[in-house]
Symmetry: C2
Subunit: 353 residues, 2 copies
């Protein structure tokens, strides 16, 4: 089995090494061919490793980095002044070929800016996007949505490129043969939506490379109708965070209802195990690990508030993406599309002559 090496920004997130080191040890124990490079303050990491479970020292190394990027730091300042941050060094390791992917729970804006600056985008992709996985009503079927906030003003070409990248990821990582792709819109009729979405729909419908199946509305996001949902980063971020807000509002109301009387409290005791199975199904920890897709290298972003289990899940996502060689698959797909475009244009010219 081929060795996989992943650089882990061990200082990022709300909890830093105290969560990230145990998560790393947990994943290391599960994968024999995995090497992890913990990037961060050596003393802090050594200390955390000593209190943790035993591990194969040949497969886990520490790479010292003297700085940290703050969770609220401006991406531009982090990029300029934090050249030895755990985040930047972890990304550098990918750039230098010493790691095949990096995972960070740090500041999303800084991670995006740094990854884009250091790694650059795949040829044919203008901008990287943030993509994540979501549960759906349709049993075990998941959905991937992008962009979730990296790009607030998207052109038609950007939306098309997001569709290509989402499609490649769903096919390779989720093993879906011909993933259905929908554009998020405010109606399902052709006349609905803004100009970018309408033009992107025409472009997607004319391409054989994408299994584009039309518009989808917000109320169908989790229906399982689409394998990949494409939207601009502003809209995607609002949809994502609104979903979190509604889920937490309902959770709050359920709690309130079950505390409203003595009888309700008694029922709650019985209902708890039943409702546990529900929360497991949509447990955000199980879906932790968004990808910064479209870069020449794999970068997985964990939720800042991730605990051990959730952060481990983000590392697992990186492992699968390395195994499937996602960056190269996207590159190949874009190249194929560009070639097709050239051929079509040449054919048009010949026909016109």
């Amino acid at each position: 089995m081929k060795t996989i090496t992943i650089a882990v920004d061990a200082m990022g997130g709300d909890y830093g090494p105290s969560v990230i080191v145990p998560a790393a040890l947990h994943v290391l124990a599960k994968h024999d061919s995995l090497h992890l490079i913990l990037v961060g303050d050596e003393t802090a990491l050594q200390k955390e490793l000593q209190t943790g479970r035993a591990y194969d020292k040949g497969r886990m190394t520490i790479h010292h980095a003297s700085q940290c990027v703050g969770m609220d730091e401006s991406p531009a300042i982090a990029l300029r002044t934090k050249k030895d941050s755990s985040m930047r060094v972890a990304i550098n390791l990918v750039k230098e070929g010493k790691a095949q992917a990096c995972v960070s729970a740090g500041n999303t804006g800084a991670l995006m800016a740094t990854a884009r600056f250091v790694l650059k985008t795949v040829p044919g992709i203008d901008r990287p996007a943030i993509i994540s996985t979501f549960p759906t009503r349709a049993g075990k079927k998941n959905m991937r949505m992008l962009d979730l906030g990296a790009n607030v003003d998207c052109t038609v070409d950007h939306l098309f490129q997001f569709a290509v990248m989402g499609s490649v990821l769903a096919q390779a990582v989720d093993n879906i043969e011909n993933p259905t792709v929908c554009l998020l819109n405010i109606g399902e009729e052709d006349i609905k939506g803004n100009e970018q979405v309408k033009q992107a729909a025409l472009l997607l419908a004319s391409s054989n490379a994408i299994n584009y199946t039309g518009y989808i509305e917000g109320d169908k996001l989790y229906s399982g109708r689409a394998d990949v949902i494409v939207c601009d980063g502003f809209v995607g971020n609002v949809a994502l965070k609104t979903s979190e807000g509604v889920a937490s509002f309902i959770k709050y109301l359920i709690k309130e209802a079950f505390l409203s009387s003595l009888f309700a409290k008694f029922v709650a005791l019985l209902a708890l195990p039943v409702l546990k199975s529900l929360t497991k199904r949509i447990d955000p920890d199980r879906y932790n690990g968004a990808s910064l897709i479209g870069l020449r290298g794999i970068v997985v972003k964990s939720h800042g508030g991730a605990k051990r289990y959730a952060f481990a899940h983000a590392i697992e996502e990186a492992i699968v993406q390395v195994e499937k060689d996602i960056s190269h698959l996207i590159h190949a797909k874009v190249e194929q599309l560009l070639k097709l475009q050239v051929i079509t244009e040449q054919k048009k010219q010949t026909d016109e002559e």
Copy 2:
């Protein structure tokens, strides 16, 4: 007490007269000074009235209209070819001063296009918007959000006007003295967001007429932090429908969990009354009745799938808006703002000279 006359499009929505007539009778019985004009096919309405409860014939009249606007009909075609539709005639009655408001459960696009064409906007308001009320975590405190889908590409001025209109409505209808207004964005820091939102934030922050309190993210929509949330119609529609989608997804999962075993089914029997109190709190029927705000007349839009209780709620919303004289309040507020602007600009000029 002053008489209030409301025109009801009795043919709109998924159920037409069979739901709308009983709802109208129900509301009529509750308000002594209310007059309702049922607009639609006279024969169908007569039939429905005969089977319904007894009512004061002096306060409920039928206004015949020979056409109906289909739920999927294009707004442009409805506007051009359905000049005697129940929707158009109900709006005409407002225009002619024969009714002070109209309520319809019909096609939203057609209602917006027709209302805008017939009634025109309040001076100083470029575009009407769709606004609705939502529950929040904060007990009985509600939140109003706009635009929910009437305008897909909004300028900075549009967003500012939405803030003014939302603020007036929250103050007059919800009796909030100095309603807090937030802009929906993808982060709370100043640097986040697209150009329109950033510019609108500057404009709102500089105005004393609006109690602008900053950006709000999707996960805080239902937190109760804001009385009024402003966004463009694309984003607002996605947020609204995503909320519906998440709520129905969770409802589905709860049902699934409670059907998963015999024990769970038994618990479900006990939990049902407890969960009922929860669903009552966020019952969409209680929040039925979006307003097409910014027009020279009051137009309330009921959900197309509204049943009797929900449609009655939409009529009640129209009654309150008539009592508070919403269109004139908005007009007065905009006029005051425009005057202020003129004064500020004159002052600037004098200072410069």
